[in-house]
């Protein structure tokens, strides 16, 4: 009786291990393939450090006048983990109240000849959306960011305030 019980338990455990093993293998393959191919994707290639890349480094200021937010935000481009990322570092509302911040808002995915693409994190009605955006360095002190997300499109201008 004991042997029977033991054999039954052993089969059950082996069956579960087989199920778990097969499932993990399937998940690894299905999730691994897009990560491997992402290396070849134009959007995930590290931006080349041309002259314009370094031109983005530093602090930028943008003004907003929408229902969501009225005021100014100071952004800072930093080089992190092999890519260029922009963080919002200071928020000032229309009444002059300001607060410090350190939120990741934009990740540069490509940049050449003063133009490129980025993943831009937007907040709308308390929800955060990550949208593909196009960026263009109009001149050394003006950056244009435009995006279109399910019909909601906008263009922002950031102005350089320090290197």
């Amino acid at each position: 009786m004991f042997a029977l019980c033991f054999t039954y338990k052993a089969i059950l455990i082996m069956s579960n291990i087989r199920l778990a093993g097969t499932s993990i293998l399937i998940i690894t393959i299905l999730a691994g393939i897009p990560h491997i191919f992402a290396r070849y994707s134009p959007s995930d290639k590290a931006p080349s450090k041309s002259f314009s890349y370094s031109a983005l480094l530093g602090d930028w200021k943008a003004s907003y006048d929408s229902e969501e937010f009225r005021g100014e935000v100071i952004y800072q481009f930093r080089e992190k983990e092999g890519s260029l990322k922009a963080y919002s570092i200071k928020l000032t509302d229309e009444n002059g109240n300001s607060m410090k911040d350190n939120s990741l808002v934009l990740v540069l995915t490509s940049f050449e000849e003063k133009q490129g693409t980025a993943r831009y994190g937007l907040e709308y009605e308390g929800e955060r959306y990550e949208v593909e955006s196009e960026i263009e360095l109009i001149d050394d002190s003006k950056l244009q960011i435009s995006y279109d997300y399910f019909g909601y499109s906008d263009t922002e201008y950031w102005h350089k305030i320090s290197k």
Partner: protein, 293 residues
């Protein structure tokens, strides 16, 4: 070929094609097909009051399900998805064909396990039994949902977001799997050519899943690909004529009764079972489990 697969896609275009299949298919596929089914029922002299009221109850449960889904989504789930994507996810994947295909396949695999869990634990079956309780099998049954049906998939889709997939893409892929699965709820289509039956979930495979015949219990959980069942030991081909419904029939087309009967039955079972440990086990043990005397 690789260049095509890794080429960046616009969200607008991707969203549009998902909209055409996920949302509009109800107009150009599901409803026309349901009308064909009704004509067939009429021709076979099977179009009776029970079938009509059963179909109406199915649509009402869909309304209740969508309402619950929206409340959960608006209250917190979308926030959780985006928080997870931002804070505990692998490198974010670019939007290209490889990512979309992988995400749909992962959503399909997640659907398999979600579906299997709903059949194999008491609380899962308490909600999913609603879908299986119809004695009929047609397009409207695909939209017969239980009160907690919107909650269980979350457990399985959040890990996909953690693997670097965009939350919106994950949600669209999940709906894609559900929509594909919906069109399998029909008796009109017999068996399809062998290669299709081998790889994909088909109306024949899904009829088996809805069978109350003992050899068909807990079989064919797949959404799109039946190979998951073949790989994980839950595949059963359609041989014997399928008897639809559940072993303890509901015998009602009252939408409120239909929607809540699983939870009501579980509640009664918990109330009648002695001991907190046993009460808890009713939630996590397979349906029909009873404490040993």
């Amino acid at each position: 070929m690789i260049d095509f697969l890794v080429k960046n896609l616009e969200w607008e275009a991707v969203g549009y094609w998902f909209h055409v299949f996920n949302d509009l298919s109800i107009m150009y596929l599901i409803i026309p097909f349901f009308i064909v089914e009704l004509i067939r029922y009429r021709y076979l002299n099977r179009l009776d009051k029970n079938l009509i009221f059963d179909s109406i109850a199915n649509v009402i449960t869909l309304g209740a399900f969508v309402a619950i889904e929206y409340i959960i989504g608006i209250l917190f789930m979308t926030k959780v998805y985006f928080w997870v994507h931002e804070h505990i996810s692998l490198t974010h994947l670019p939007l290209n064909w490889i990512t979309i295909i992988s995400c749909i396949l992962l959503a399909d695999f997640a659907y398999y396990w979600d579906h299997r869990m709903m059949h194999r634990i008491g609380i899962g079956w308490a909600t999913h039994t609603v879908h299986h309780s119809s004695p009929h099998f047609n397009m409207s049954v695909a939209y017969r949902f239980g009160p907690l049906d919107a909650i269980f998939p979350i457990i399985f889709s959040l890990p996909i977001v953690m693997l670097g997939f965009d939350p919106i893409l994950v949600l669209l892929s999940e709906v894609f799997v559900q929509t594909f699965q919906a069109i399998l709820h029909t008796e009109v289509i017999g068996k399809l050519p062998k290669p299709i039956e081998y790889m994909f979930n088909t109306p024949s495979h899904h009829r088996v899943h809805h069978g109350s015949n003992q050899q068909y219990w807990d079989k064919n959980y797949a959404g799109i690909l039946i190979i998951w069942d073949r790989l994980l030991g839950t595949f059963e081909p359609e041989k014997e004529a399928v008897v639809y419904g559940i072993t303890k029939p509901l015998n009602s087309t009252n939408p409120i009764k239909v929607f809540f009967h699983g939870l009501t039955r579980l509640y009664h079972a918990i109330r009648e079972t002695k001991g907190w440990k046993n009460k808890f086990k009713l939630l996590i043990k397979p349906p029909g489990w009873e404490p040993q005397q």
